[in-house]
């Protein structure tokens, strides 16, 4: 499969969205709304759920499942209030010492007047900073599109997993093509050049695990199994140890030379 085919697969309609994963992996999901500052952003869903005998905080970027809900959810492009809601729920998880599980699926944080005037950059920065230091386990799963800062704002975690056909990139292949090659039609080449597939991510150390895409029930089953062993592992660590592990995880990413 070519890189651009992964991009199209990650964007395909009919692909499972965050709400599918939440309802099939957990039980008793109770959605909690709002950032307590401005509004409730429907591009991000969050709340409490049960996983076995454990209460967890779940947060997902939701693209919507039909035309109407896609519009309603702004196609999974969150505003600052969405990221602030997510952070509020994560801080609450820390307070009650329960793990956070994030599902990431966005073409990017929303680009618009309202998003900018309410501090999109500040909101993403704050999420990254607070997640880096959160004293409770965080697991992020890239389920579709991992679009740049808007994805990273929910993907600073102790473990990052990725579905086989999901993609993760600093810029969309179309954006990259129009800037570098002055031609959005060069997206196929850009997708190749950007190295955005799950295999690439595993090789770079950006993700820890690839979840193979089987029929959906089997995929959910795989994730449930992986989650239960990962949570057992992570819940054995102290808050300080978790923050330390997370810091080290990102600290080593990238390499350089000398003149």
């Amino acid at each position: 499969m070519k890189a651009i085919e992964y991009v199209y697969a990650a964007r395909a309609k009919g692909r499972c969205t965050s709400l599918d994963f939440i309802s099939n992996i957990f039980t008793d999901f109770i959605e909690l709304h709002g950032d307590r500052r401005f509004a409730d952003d429907k591009a991000i869903v969050g709340g409490l759920a049960r996983f076995g005998n454990m209460t967890v905080t779940v947060i997902g970027i939701e693209k919507g499942q039909d035309t109407r809900s896609r519009i309603d959810r702004n196609f999974g492009s969150a505003h600052p209030e969405g990221y602030r809601k997510a952070l509020r729920l994560m801080k609450q998880a820390e307070k009650f010492r329960r793990p956070v599980i994030c599902f990431v699926d966005t073409s990017g944080a929303y680009c618009g007047i309202g998003a900018e005037e309410r501090g999109q950059g500040q909101a993403i920065s704050e999420n990254i900073m607070e997640m880096m230091d959160l004293k409770t386990p965080i697991i992020s799963i890239l389920i579709g599109e991992g679009g740049s800062g808007g994805a990273l704002a929910l993907a600073v975690a102790n473990e990052v997993w990725m579905l086989e056909k999901a993609v993760y990139s600093v810029i969309s292949p179309e954006g990259c093509a129009s800037i570098l090659y002055k031609d959005p039609k060069m997206a196929e080449k850009a997708a190749e050049d950007l190295k955005l597939t799950s295999d690439d991510m595993l090789k770079f150390g950006v993700v820890d695990k690839i979840i193979s895409e089987s029929p959906r029930n089997i995929t959910f089953h795989i994730i449930r199994n992986e989650l239960s062993s990962a949570l057992r592992r992570l819940c054995a660590l102290s808050g300080e140890e978790l923050a330390e592990q997370r810091y080290k995880r990102y600290r080593v990413l990238g390499s350089h030379g000398t003149v």
Binding site: A109, C111, G112, I113, A115, E116, E117, R118, G119, Q120, G121, Q122, I124, S125, E126, I128, M129, E130, M132, D133, S148, G149, L152, A153, V156, Y168, S169, V170, I171, C176, I179, L180, K182, D193, L194, K195, L196, D200, M201, F204, V206, R246, Y247, Y250, R251, L253, G254, S255, H256, G257, T258, V259
Partner: protein
Amino acid sequence: MFQFRKPRNELELILRNGNKRTPSIPDEMFTYCPSCKKAILTDELADNANICSHCGYHFYINARMRIHLTVDKDSFTELDSEMQSINVIGFPGYEMKLQSAKLASSENEAVITGICTIAGVRCAIFVMEGKFMMGSMGTVVGEKITRLFETATEQKLPVVGFTVSGGARMQEGILSLMQMAKTNGAVSRHGKSRLLYIAVLTNPTTGGVTASFAMAGDIILSEPDALICFAGPRVIAQTTSQKLPSGFQKAEFLLQKGFIDAIVRRDELRNVIGKLLMMHS
């Protein structure tokens, strides 16, 4: 080389215009202000920290000049000056881009880091260089800034940082995005040690840098009229076809919306930073 191309967007235009003279004027005695269109004696402009003496427009200045204007005389010791980028994801043409960026900026990478004193207070400092691939953040920018914050945490020093950036460097793919997490992690640890970080945003500060350490300062200052945004105005105009309000995403707009602490003229910055450092020392 990128100097000869048509600027691809407003960010590049800002970075490129810098203090370059209008090409139609053979005599370089005068520089024309893009804001008030008046002529300024080029020598006078340099003596005035590249601020237009008529209207106060802040021309681009390079990172070395910025350090010269900010730190106490002879107090600056550079760190990691030899560090340079490699083609981490094997992106076609990246080595060439790095070569021309080095020539265009006379620097090895898009940020300079070091230790200095300002108004007698010892501190760590980073200054981004807009002429190096538009101040974009790749692995080396991320690593140098992370190391600086780690050093500052160890030595219990405040950090003063000047940003100018087109955002994450796409030629380093996902690894450039990861620098946002790496740097903000180091900023967070520095902050948890109850140490001060003053961010000074200069024209333009955008994308992944805005969405990481630029917006993470305890105190965030900006130069007048600086463009500060996550998504650039052109991208927003294109994707939303909304008419952008006047002054949108300029420092004055961010001040009004509550996202920066103060706007400080370049010729006042040294003074203000010095005072802030003294109030925390």
